[in-house]
């Protein structure tokens, strides 16, 4: 690995000196994969405190940002220094994004006490998972704890985020449809804690029951998923939610299980890094486009099938077999 360049070193010095502008800049370097970002990540990794990471996800309009703001306020009052990563989708049409979560975290205490960073999904497969993990690492190495990752709901992004979090809270609201929908959307697999927000509305109890029934159908029940009711706009249920999160944290940090949890995380991190790196290297390899085009031509003319083409590409051309 190349050594960190001198102005990057200067930046890291400021970073470890506690300059939040340097943190902000480091995050941009990671997010944009600017020159030297991997070297920076490596040095951040060496300084990680293994900060606790909470993922918060759920459908649009579930009140996630308000809830995150309440959680942040709670942790800030316990003298913790909170980091928040708020992810919003990138528009597939323009490549731009409207990052509006910050607005819903207008608690003045949170605004002055927490470090909030808005991120766009930006569309590249696996890119978000890696970028958000990198950003969380930056906040971690800077001394932020816990780190809350918020993503809007349906699709790849919340799975990516769930993989980066130690504890994932799935937020549902009575009007967001039934628990069955949530199960279909794959939220059941990632939830460590369920939060039924806007619990003052009609249908909250029914939704809780439905979730409970679905939870009972899981095969692995070593962890009983808590279902917490909140009304984030009125700050009701925040404490219960924190308790549920903390009890999951205790669960995963217990003895041997913690070890397994860490290994599992390291392993999936590593695998993802590797996959992404391979795909990046392929794309940027000289003559890759031509190789691809050549096989496309052969498939088109009916000479070979795409399956054979893969073997040819990996074997003869790229020598990966």
């Amino acid at each position: 690995m190349a050594p960190v360049s001198s102005n990057r070193q200067e930046l890291l010095k400021r970073f470890f000196g506690g300059d939040r502008l340097a943190l902000s800049r480091v995050i941009s370097i990671i997010e944009n994969e600017r020159d030297g970002y991997r070297e920076i990540l490596a040095s951040l990794y060496a300084n990680s405190h293994k900060a606790f990471r909470i993922g918060v996800t759920g459908p649009p309009g579930a009140g996630k940002s308000t809830l995150v703001s309440r959680l942040a306020r709670y942790y800030l009052q316990s003298e913790l220094s909170v980091g928040i990563i708020a992810v919003d989708p990138t528009s597939p049409f323009s490549g731009g994004a409207l990052l509006g979560d910050r607005v819903r975290m207008q608690d003045e205490g949170v605004q002055s006490g927490a470090f909030i960073r808005s991120m766009a999904t930006r569309g590249s497969v696996g890119g978000l998972a890696q970028a958000s993990r990198g950003v969380a690492l930056a906040m971690d190495a800077f001394g932020k704890e816990p780190i809350i990752l918020e993503t809007v709901g349906v699709g790849q992004s919340e799975l990516d985020i769930a993989n980066s979090a130690d504890t994932t809270v799935v937020v549902l609201v009575p009007e967001s449809g039934d628990g069955i929908q949530a199960m279909k959307a794959g939220l059941m697999e990632i939830a460590d804690v369920f939060c039924v927000n806007k619990a003052d509305r009609e249908g909250a109890e029914a939704l809780c029951r439905e979730i409970a029934v679905i939870c009972e159908m899981r095969s692995d029940r070593s962890w009983e998923i808590p279902i917490v009711q909140t009304v984030a706009t009125r700050n009701e249920g925040t404490e219960e939610l924190v308790r549920a999160i903390e009890s999951h944290r205790e669960f995963i940090t217990e003895g041997e299980r913690y070890h397994l949890h860490l290994r599992q995380q390291i392993r999936s991190d590593l695998q993802e890094l590797l996959e992404r790196e391979i795909s990046m290297r392929l794309q940027f390899r000289n003559g890759f486009e031509e190789l691809l085009e050549k096989q496309v031509g052969r498939i088109e003319s009916g000479e070979i099938s795409p399956y054979e083409a893969v073997d040819i590409l990996l074997g003869k051309e790229l020598k990966l077999q």
Binding site: R20, L21, S24, R25, I27, S28, N32, R34, T90, S91, F93, S94, G95, G96, A97, L98, L99, G100, R102, V103, Q106, Q111, S112, F115, I116, R117, S118, A120, R122
Partner: protein
Amino acid sequence: MAEKIRVLVGKPGLDGHDRGAKVVARALRDGGMEVIYTGLHQTPEMIVEAALQEDVDVVALSILSGAHMTMFSRVLELLKENGADHILVTGGGIIPEEDIKALGEMGVGRLFGPGTPTDEIVEYIRGAVEEARAK
């Protein structure tokens, strides 16, 4: 591929006229930028803190209450104090010609009046950021 341009669209002061800010925020998004919107009733301190955390290229402020002299100069001052005066400060609202001149001299970028086509704003921001990045 060029890096995304990040813009903070802010509403400092007490006026609630966010039609322009929201239309511009959408137009910037449609122009391929990442837009962080602060919401209404922000103090210059809140806006600058958000700009620092979000590492934006541009802070675009919308003010229609007449408090522009106070708000723009305070935002510039705070950015400078925090070592972030590389951030372009631009904006719009009901701002008399004379004040636009005075704010320009202080270091504020272009200011757009009512009726400006959003394309013009998008192009200006894109041009200014590209120029700054090329340096």
